[in-house]
């Protein structure tokens, strides 16, 4: 009993000291605040995945530019929802940041999916890591050689896709809606993009779609033929592949394309809890800017075929807000259907 009360008292004292040092938070200089502290970088996906990789990749640079210690915490679940919730509900002192896959998060919020505590428009956006132009590909031996072939085809085109919450499915869905294609048969259920890709390489299915960065290797090796790029500007290395806008589409279709490409433009972004003092938000934003524009880091990223393309947090917020205000009702309905 005595031992227990000793422990209790020490906890209370430690807590008291802690509280005391935090009250004059607003008047502290941001840099002085972060110096020597621990900042938790939440990765809403499992250890070893692409996002986890990026976080660990950026961490040393962030530490250099902020003077704090970055601790990476994986909080996987719900396709990123769990981790995003954690960042949203964390204490607003600027010591919790996160990274998020917007191509999953934005549609989820638009559709009003269950379990979402956050509002993407309320996060303090730090920066964009990169955008993700998407590419539609067919197998090397496919009889389709151009997007026009696809549009004019009278036969069913079987396509491979992961579950209904990946960018693959959304890519194919958007194409279907924008061009009003009736011949797409999207086969969902593959565990990951690798499996979906293999199915096309094996010749079982006609084609698939996902980010350029994940497909570029196989395109270069000749396993895939790229037929269409979903983005608003040419992609380096695939300059002779047409863009979605090169083809005729209805006004409604164009709105859907615009909305989707807007989402893709901020595909991977970093955020901080809402309500953090402005100077700390600015400080961390600056740290991210320095990290992501560092020549050495950019070059290393380039080598991984995962180019880094920094965009300022404020602009990221604008893109996100637009996705919500401009999403056409047809698109919203389709999303609601998938995510019910």
């Amino acid at each position: 009993m005595k031992r227990f009360s000793l422990v209790l008292v020490s906890i209370l004292i430690a807590g008291g000291i802690n509280l005391g040092s935090q009250t004059p938070a607003l008047s502290q200089d941001a840099a002085a605040f972060y110096k020597g502290k621990t900042v938790t970088f939440i990765v809403p996906y499992s250890a070893g995945g692409g996002y986890d990789f990026y976080a660990r990749f950026m961490a040393p640079h962030l530490e250099k530019h902020t003077g704090c210690t970055i601790v990476i915490k994986n909080k996987p679940g719900g396709g990123g929802v769990v981790g995003a919730n954690v960042v949203y509900r964390a204490k607003p002192d600027g010591r919790t940041i996160g990274i998020l896959n917007m191509t999953g998060a934005i549609p989820a919020q638009i559709a009003g999916a269950k379990g979402i505590d956050f509002d993407l428009t309320k996060f303090n956006w730090m920066a964009r890591l990169n955008d993700e132009p998407q590419v539609f590909v067919v197998g090397a031996k496919s009889k389709y050689n151009s997007w026009n072939d696809i549009l004019q085809s009278k036969e069913t085109i079987k396509l491979s896709s992961t579950g209904t919450v990946g960018s693959t499915y959304l890519d194919l869905l958007v194409l279907k809606l924008v061009f009003d294609i009736k011949t797409f048969d999207i086969i969902t259920g593959f565990s990951g993009t690798s499996d979906a890709d293999l199915s096309v390489i094996r010749g079982e299915l006609e084609g698939t779609a996902s980010s350029v960065s994940s497909k570029i290797k196989k395109i270069e090796e000749g396993d895939f033929k790229p037929l269409l790029i979903i983005a608003d500007e040419k992609v380096k290395g695939l300059e002779n592949v047409p863009l979605i806008y090169d083809f005729p589409m209805s006004a409604e279709g164009k709105k859907i394309a615009d909305t989707y490409i807007g989402m893709m433009a901020v595909a991977r972004a970093m955020m901080m809890t809402p309500g953090v003092p402005a100077d700390r938000v600015a400080f961390m934003r600056e740290a991210f800017k320095k990290t992501l524009t560092d020549a050495d880091l950019v070059q290393k990223a380039e080598k991984m075929d995962r180019p880094v393309a920094w965009m300022d947090g404020e602009k990221v917020l604008k893109f996100i807000e637009r996705s919500f205000t401009e999403a056409p009702p047809l698109f919203v309905n389709e999303l609601k259907q998938i995510m019910k």
Binding site: R3, V7, I11, T38, T40, T69, V71, K73
Partner: protein, 156 residues
């Protein structure tokens, strides 16, 4: 005693499979095929198993009635062999300790809950001295601290 446990567990299984079937029925055409294909036979088999264990339980009960004079011989008192009611109490106590550890982790985090749990358990359940208990609890949490916080730079 064991026969009663069989019946209890068998009932639990029936309830679990019944839940799988009932909920499975409510899903759409495709998502419910495999769940129902597996849970309906599962329900059937666990009902059969329940029936089996009830029968065995009744039979054991009848046997006990005819064996009463032999059953009253006292069992030797070693800390391993407890008569059934004593054993059940021990089992519940151990689970209580485990659940308390889980609750402790939930409200106070690993670094506080584990040393307190170890200290209390070693002292009150394993009946070791305060010295040994504290030593083990402290060295363990120190090892955890070194491996995770210092070595791997993650938090728990």
């Amino acid at each position: 005693m064991k026969k009663a446990e069989e019946v209890g567990f068998a009932t639990l299984l029936v309830i679990i499979f019944a839940m799988f079937v009932i909920l499975g029925w409510g899903y759409a055409k495709r998502p419910r095929i495999v769940p129902l294909t597996l849970s309906i036979p599962g329900l059937a088999l666990s009902v059969i198993h329940l029936a089996n264990s009830i029968v065995k339980f009744k039979r054991a009960g009848k046997k006990q009635q005819t064996n009463v004079p032999e059953a009253s011989a006292p069992k030797p008192l070693r800390h391993q062999k407890l008569s059934p009611p004593g054993e059940n109490r021990k089992i519940l106590e151990i689970w209580a300790w485990i659940i308390s550890l889980a609750l402790g982790i939930n409200f106070f985090g690993f670094m506080i809950a584990i040393p307190i749990f170890l200290l209390a358990f070693l002292r009150f359940f394993a009946k070791r001295s305060w010295k040994i208990s504290t030593l083990i609890a402290a060295s363990f949490i120190l090892a955890v601290y070194l491996v995770f916080y210092v070595g791997l730079r993650t938090t728990l």
